[in-house]
Amino acid sequence: MPESKYLLFLGCVIPYRISSYEISTRKVLDKLGVELVEMPEFNCCGFPLDPINHDMMLTLAARNLCLAEQQNLSIMTLCNGCFGILNHVNKELKEDKKIRGKVNEYLKKIDMEFKGTITVKHLIHVLAQDVGFEKIKESIQKPLNPLRVAQHIGCHVVRPAKYVGFDDPENPTILKKLIRITGAECLNYMDEMECCGAPIIGVNDKIPLQLAREKLDHIRTVGAQALITVCPFCHMMYDLNQPRIEKTFNEKFGIPVLHYPQLLGLAMGLNPDELAFKQLRVDASKILTN
């Protein structure tokens, strides 16, 4: 039987500046009967530490996995980065006894041990696999047609394929299906798998801004009225940084960027205020009048 109760792993960037994603997710999952349990304790998934010290990344991730094991609950993340790290480490520690031994040696210092009893999922896995398309379809009260949007699924929720094993990283379709359920049209555009560039913005901002500009340009070309994301980092690049992109390249986009649960919530009949639309940097009111 599919699970319906998860330990919510919020990560760092959502509580720091993207709470619209958290608010809309909680609203939508509540409607779908998915129960979320809060983490009893928290530390960063480990992603930012991988470039500095791989062992510390493994250990931080493993500690979160242990906390979930103690609750006997699988983890659900909202962030692609957290999903990528926690899922990768979970699988690696389950399969590789040597690495597991090493990490458990570190964890001994805090009386913890990785056992390998849970799984890690991203919000879109929970929606597509556990809740299921049928149940989501039944929850739709206000189909969003004739809204035309484009999706950006992000990298770490599909790559590297050998660790994720979900959807096709060359041509991912799950988010598109989830979008189409809402009644909105999901448009194809050039270079859909292009990375947002967010992970290096602290080292070099020129490249990520160019990448994000190009994506906005491509989706504008096909006439998308909004971009749909499922990761706070990607969202930050296209929404929070959109005014900066416009200034840097002297170009006007004004393309609203919604978290998928905001889009789904609208189709469920929830009102935009409940879904924290006001917190978006790029004004989304023009798509709400549809």
Partner: protein, 183 residues
């Protein structure tokens, strides 16, 4: 004073010339022992990684194929002092597309790890690591945000066990590393 074209070209040529003394023949073996980098010797330089790299499209210096070749040649010093190793955005396209199953992004991570071991890292990573060690979170979440969560009806944020975190930072060597870079 601006250098004339001829001098510049001369300097670039000099820079590009490889000397036997620059080569550390054991480096490729050192790297291939690190997690994800096991297949570094299998790279046959097809260039798929560079062709498909989103960063390489917007930056003339970041070339994953070249980095892997430099590892194979043992150009350790040139690699570890090179700022371009910090440009990989870990989209993992290179890993998915490599016909030889070379963990290119993982090798770049291994190069970064070796660089930080020598006591060098970009400022942003110092900040992130120090925030995590102090609070469990990668960013310092302002009190105002926590208050706003209450107003928005969101549950209070889970706290970190800072004592345990410090123990893990010590045992994995992160604390020492941060001391070395002055954080």
């Amino acid at each position: 004073m601006l250098k004339n074209k001829e001098t510049q070209e001369k300097e670039t040529r000099k820079e590009m010339m490889l000397k036997v003394s620059d080569i550390d023949p054991k480096f490729k073996y050192e790297i291939s022992k690190l997690p994800g980098a096991e297949n570094v010797l299998l790279c046959f330089q097809c260039g798929t990684c560079t062709a498909d790299c989103p960063i390489a499209r917007f930056n003339d210096l970041y070339r994953p194929r070249k980095l892997i070749r430099m590892v194979q040649l043992g150009l350790k010093d040139k690699l570890l002092s090179n700022d371009v190793i910090w440009l990989c955005s870990t989209c993992f396209t290179c890993i998915d597309h490599c016909p030889q199953d070379v963990g290119i992004a993982d090798i770049v991570r291994a190069l970064r790890n070796l660089t930080t071991k020598e006591g060098e890292m970009p400022v942003v990573y110092k900040e992130l690591a120090s925030n995590i060690r102090k609070t469990g979170y990668a960013y310092m979440i302002p009190g105002l945000r926590l208050k706003k969560r209450e107003e928005e009806g969101l549950p209070s944020l889970p706290k970190a066990n800072v004592e345990n975190l410090a123990k893990l930072c010590d045992t994995t060597g992160l604390s020492k590393m941060l001391e070395k870079v002055g954080t």
